[in-house]
Every structure is written in C-alpha cells, then in structure tokens.
Amino acid sequence: MHTKKNNLQKFTGYIEKGRFVLPYCKTCRKTIWPPTNNCRICLNNLTLKNYKNKQGKILEYFLDKFNNNLANNIMVLVELDEIILIGSLHQDNINSRNIQGKKVRIKKCGFIDKKIFYQFEIVNN
C-alpha cells in the first residue's frame, strides 16, 4: 500500500496543527496554488515552505453578517506571495475601518466544522 503523503495531505495536516505552509517551486521561484506535488508551470516537484510569518496585503475587506458562528466578522481578501486567500481578521489591533492595503500575516489556521479557516492579523510597523 502506498503510504507516502502527498503535498495536499501534508498541507491539510499542517493546517490541523495550526501551521501554515505552502508549496514552493525552487525552479520557478514561485509559490504555487493549489497545494499539489508538482509545479503547474514547470511540473517539477514542489517543496513545502513555512509561511507562518510571511506578510501579505489586504486587497479588500467585507463585513460578514452571514457567519454568526464565527468569532470574527470581518472577511478579508489577502494577497500572500501572489496567492489570494479569503480569511477572517483578528480585530484586537484595528484602529480604523480603513484597512485596505494594510500588511497582515496568518495569526491562526485550522479546521472549524471540518472546514479550513484562516485568521489574519494586521502587522503594526
């Protein structure tokens, strides 16, 4: 039986542990989405890179009044190394509602009700 985990399984496995990794192609020097074993540009093998402290940028933000069960109700569209992710925003350090363009990083990730979640926090500096 084939037991070696592929990158998608590794990606979700890391997410379960609260760690955020993304597949990276050393040949193309690019982060690749979605998580898979091979680069979609050159088809070479990918490695997984830790993005826990990698900074991204808020492209847009939205008041989410639909997901009442989530602790945080601001949904953000974040660009992180050319990958665009949707997540919630940790709000403790928000001083104004004008957060478009602000730098963020992953604060938390994991699973809620079998769904992956990402929570970002604004980087103050």
Partner: protein, 380 residues
C-alpha cells in the same frame, strides 16, 4: 462538422424541496418532452445527464426507465455550468457523426453537493458562493462606480419577468427597488434579494443532426402524432475553463474572464457580433453577475454594465433569470437553452413585448466564481 439543431425542450416546475427521488424529478420534464414532440425513442442514440448529485450512473438508470438503449450514456458535472457543458458534449457527438440525436437531461435536488465548494482551500471558511458574490460586487462598485441602485435593479427586473413563468420558483413574489435595497445584508454589500435560491427541478432538451431533420420529422408523422418539430440551430459555442480555485479566478474576473473568452469564441464561430443578439439568458446567480455578463458578452464596454440595466434593446432573462426562477445547479444551463429555443421557435411563452421577433439568441452560463464560462449562440 455537421450542423446541430435543438428540436424540443421542456423545463419542469422549480420547487423548494420535495421527497421525490432524483430520477422521478428527471422524468417530469423528460416524459413531457417525449410526449410533446412525439420523438421516436428508438432513434435517440445519446443520453447525457447534467447533475451535481452524488447518484451514480444516472443517465443509464434514466435511459432504462424511459425505454431508451442509447449508444452513449453518461453524466456531466461542472457545477453551475454543467447544463451547457452537457449540451456541448452532445453537440460534439452529433457534429462529429458519432450520433444523430441526443437527449440531454438536467436534474438536481435542493440538497445537492454542488452548492458547497469543498475542494477550494483558498476560500477558507468562506466556502459558500455568497462570499465571492459579495467580493465581485464590492470590487465592481469601487473600481467602476456602479451603484447600489443599478445593481439592485437586476432582481427587480428578474422577479417581474418570473411572474409570467409558471415554472419559476419565485413566480408569486413581487419586489421593488426599495425592498431589494433594504433587504438583509448577508455579506457587505451583498443583500438577500440579490441572491438566487437553490431549488429542485429538471429540464430536458433534444438535439439532432440538422441534415437528418426531414428523416426524424417523417418518423414522427408515421407515428401519426400531431406534433410540430421546429429546428433552432446552434451556431456558436464558446467554452473556457480558467481554473478551479477562487485564488486563481479573482485575478482574471475583471480582465480576461472565462466568460469573456467563451463569448469571443462563440461570436467567432457564429460569425456574428454582440449587436446581432436579440435575446439572451445571462447567468444572474447574484445580481452583480448579470452586470458582469453585459460586459463580458460585449453589450457594453468594461465597467459600464451598471448603465445597461435600464436598456430594452435586447430581451434579457425573459424567463426570470436565475434570481427569479431559482437555481437547480445542474439544470440551469439547460433551462436557459430551452428558454432561448422556445423564444426563437416563435412560441413566446411568456407573452413578451419585444421590439422585433427574435432571430438570434445567446446563453451565458458560469461555474463557481467564473472559474469556467460557457456561451451558446442559437439562430431561429
């Protein structure tokens, strides 16, 4: 390539949810189609089912139930544009000569697995379509200055048209602009009345090789049935799949979207331009998508979709669109095509007040955040 025509189509009533088996929902439109056209079942050599349900080998099960033994029988699933994808597959079989006649059946239950995008991890916990609907709306408003009033006019238009469609899920509902503007905000700035309802239903359509039209017609006559067969030719097809992830779709959606590319392919194949279109079914699962549709189909320039909502040159979403009719996911593309077929074959089932008798019709059908887009052009 052989010319391919639509010769019949029937859409069932769209309902919230019943305890009926999916095959029986499929039979509702299929049996009516076979009876209405009188088409000989032994001459149908392909049966294609469009559905996002998890029921296995549905096309063979349904074929057996209606006494058809087709050469080709399979299911197509590509989320919200499964229906037009199934029509394209049938078109290919017929135009290549592999088959002469195909029956395409779209069927869906309300609890379909197609309404949650579980394979796209770029959406995180926001994996329902309303979240990207809100994203598209906010970006369009900020980037191009489209207004709440313009975007919220789409549901007003489509609910009004659905009142004339006896099969529409929202046929008994009337909404005005104020009600849409004041409806509950789900995800800022997207409001409840700007969203379609997922429902159940079916729609069935018959495609034939145009060169065999006289032959098929003669077979119907010999069955002594009093049925009329009117061919509407599929002149152009455009199909573009750009990606499956929202992460990759969002970078294209306001530039070279899948729908824009599909429209260019379809216009080129049909040898027409946007100004030749008389009637169109535009994928309005959310109000903003109809506005993006105007732009991607070339009815207006990029960013000017908001101003097109008040026009009356092209008859748009005459059956009530997806907002008015409801959205049984794998059915929608077929129901849209049936609507265009009925309008072009002169039935004018909803008593539309058109400036001229429609000659060229267009179907615009999208999947999951525009990751894939389909455009069909038909001529009556």
């Amino acid at each position: 390539m052989r010319k391919v025509s639509v010769v019949g189509g029937v859409t069932s009533e769209f309902r919230k949810e019943t305890d009926r088996d999916i095959t029986h929902i499929a039979l509702e439109s299929t049996i009516k189609l076979l009876k209405d056209t009188g088409f000989p079942r032994n001459l149908i050599d392909a049966v294609i089912v469009s559905s996002c349900s998890s029921d296995q080998y549905l096309s063979s099960v349904i074929s057996e139930m209606i006494g058809i033994r087709p050469k080709i029988s399979h299911r197509i699933d590509n989320l919200c544009n499964s229906g037009t994808n199934a029509i394209i597959s049938a078109y290919s079989y017929i135009s290549s000569g592999l088959c002469d006649c195909a029956l395409i059946i779209g069927v869906e239950k309300s609890n379909t697995s197609g309404k949650i995008l579980s394979n796209d991890f770029s959406r995180g916990q926001y994996n329902l379509p309303i979240f990207w609907g809100a994203i598209f709306k906010k970006i369009h408003m900020k980037r191009y200055g489209s207004t709440e009033e313009q975007i919220c006019q789409i549901p007003v238009n489509n609910y009004l048209k659905a009142k004339n469609n006896k099969n529409a899920f929202n046929r008994s509902k009337s909404v005005n602009l104020e009600q849409v503007l004041n409806s509950r905000v789900l995800v800022e700035p997207l409001k409840l009345l700007e969203c379609c309802s997922i429902c159940e239903g079916s729609s069935s359509i018959l495609l034939i090789a145009d060169e065999k039209f006289s032959f098929f017609k003669s077979k119907i006559s010999s069955n002594k049935r009093n049925c009329e067969l009117i061919p509407v030719v599929i002149k152009g097809i455009g199909q573009q799949t750009n990606c499956a992830s929202f992460s990759n779709a969002i970078t294209d959606i306001f530039a070279q979207s899948s729908a824009r590319m599909a429209a260019q392919q379809a216009y080129k194949m049909a040898g027409i331009s946007p100004k030749d279109v008389d009637i169109a079914e535009i994928h309005d699962a959310f109000s903003i998508l109809e506005i993006l549709g105007y732009e991607d189909l070339g009815f207006v320039k990029k960013g000017e979709g908001g101003t097109f909502v008040y026009q009356n040159k092209i008859s748009i979403n005459s059956r009530g669109g997806i907002i008015g009719c409801g959205h049984p996911i794998g059915v929608t593309g077929i129901a849209q095509t049936v609507e265009i077929f009925e309008q072009l074959s002169g039935k004018n089932i909803h008593n539309l007040k058109l400036n001229r008798s429609p000659h060229v019709g267009l179907v615009h059908n999208l999947a999951a955040a525009g990751t894939s887009g389909t455009v069909l052009i038909m001529e009556g």
